[in-house]
């Protein structure tokens, strides 16, 4: 479950960003995860609520934007878009593809609560 480690990184980034912006609550966490990244978005969701408990992002909504997978096809000498590492070049059907993008795993942005707003539901 390396997803747990990754979501712990999300928590560290979220807490530091909230602190730097004087926010006590994070309403939405937006991630950008490439389609060729080494993580399953559903597994991140599974860990998110557990890992965020007790943090400024407890109860926050998690939004995951999937960014496209990009590769260079050596046979076509052209950039192509692929959805998985096992996919062939959509133009020539070959597999001489070098991954050039879509492996990112980033915290894209946060929606912070108003000053003084806390995540405690009381």
């Amino acid at each position: 479950m390396h997803e747990m480690s990754l979501v712990e990184s999300v928590r560290e980034i979220v807490e530091a960003t909230a602190r730097a912006n004087g926010a006590d609550r994070v309403r939405v966490v937006r991630l950008r995860i490439g389609r060729l990244a080494t993580v399953e978005p559903e597994a991140l969701r599974f860990c998110f609520d557990v890992v965020m408990k007790g943090s400024v992002a407890e109860g926050a909504r998690l939004e995951i934007e999937a960014t496209p997978g990009a590769a260079w096809c050596w046979d076509c000498s052209a950039p192509v878009t692929i959805g998985a590492l096992t996919e062939a070049c959509p133009a020539c059907g070959g597999h001489r593809l070098e991954v050039t993008g879509g492996t990112e795993m980033r915290v894209h942005e946060l929606e912070l609560g108003a000053p003084g707003e806390t995540n405690a539901c009381a």
Partner: protein
């Protein structure tokens, strides 16, 4: 009735609920409109751009490790595979072959026990065992800490044997020069397609236990073709640790990588490394 949550009657002159929120506990601000019925609006959210990589912290430690290896002229190899592919046996034989030719050291990763480190120590190589507990992979910070206990083999090779797991270790850069993925012939030649991330992350694939090829339905050429479908640049070697077939090519590969990094020629005295760095 409170128009925000629907509970209790609301008094004409303001906010208080006659009945309070009672059993449900979710206080909220009340409107300030006529008769207290205005709907409270949540203040507009503040959106802040972050753009930070989830692996940034790991990658910072990996970069520090990489600098440390470069300063010491060390070739660091991260051995990754499923459990049971024969990584430790391969490593023991590799260390035996390198003995007296190159300085070596080993970081051993396992969830539990020091059994593998004991096998490595028996070859005379300096070794540190890392137990990850429930963890499924080594990360760069764990390796950084291990390096505090392990003298780097100046001008030689540091082998990092990762936790047996063909998934998670693919994501974590430890500062190594190369990931070396070990695939044994008892595992199935379709494995590179089933676990593509690791084969993409690796620079060398060792197909091991080739002495068992006559007894298993494993096509080494197909395995290599599958691995190169994922990673066209992947180098592949087929070998048997037990019988020695193909093993020289692996040792040659290590020698070549050491030469490319400006580490010591095999057999050179360690003092030469000190002069070279001075």
């Amino acid at each position: 009735m409170c128009v925000t949550c629907g509970c209790g009657p609301i008094l004409a002159d303001g906010h208080a609920h006659e009945m309070g929120h009672g059993a449900h506990d979710h206080g909220h601000a009340h409107g300030t409109g006529p008769r207290g019925l205005g709907i409270w609006k949540e203040p507009a959210p503040r959106v802040v751009s972050v753009e930070q990589d989830l692996l940034a912290k790991n990658d910072r430690h990996a970069a520090a490790n990489r600098q440390r290896f470069a300063r010491a002229g060390v070739l660091a190899l991260n051995l990754v595979s499923s459990p049971g592919s024969g990584k430790t046996t391969l490593l023991v034989e590799t260390l035996t072959r390198l003995r007296g030719r190159r300085p070596v050291a080993v970081v051993e990763g396992d969830q539990q026990t020091s059994l593998d480190a004991d096998r490595i120590a028996a070859t005379g190589a300096p070794v540190v065992q890392l137990n990850t507990g429930k963890g499924c992979h080594l990360d760069a910070l764990q390796v950084e800490r291990a390096l505090d206990e392990l003298p780097l083999p100046s001008g030689g090779v540091l082998f990092i044997e990762n936790v047996g797991n063909l998934v998670c270790p693919a994501s974590f850069d430890l500062g190594e020069a190369h990931k070396v993925v070990v695939l044994s012939v008892t595992e199935g030649d379709d494995k590179p397609l089933k676990y593509p991330d690791m084969f993409l992350a690796a620079d060398l694939c060792l197909v091991t236990k080739s002495d068992l090829l006559p007894y298993v339905p494993f096509d080494a050429d197909r395995a290599i073709a599958n691995a190169r479908r994922i990673n066209p640049r992947l180098e592949c070697l087929v070998l048997s640790t037990l019988k020695g077939d193909g093993f020289d090519a692996w040792v040659d590969w290590i020698d070549r990588e050491c030469a490319a990094r400006g580490t010591l020629p095999a057999g050179a005295p360690a003092a030469a490394a000190l002069e070279r760095r001075a």
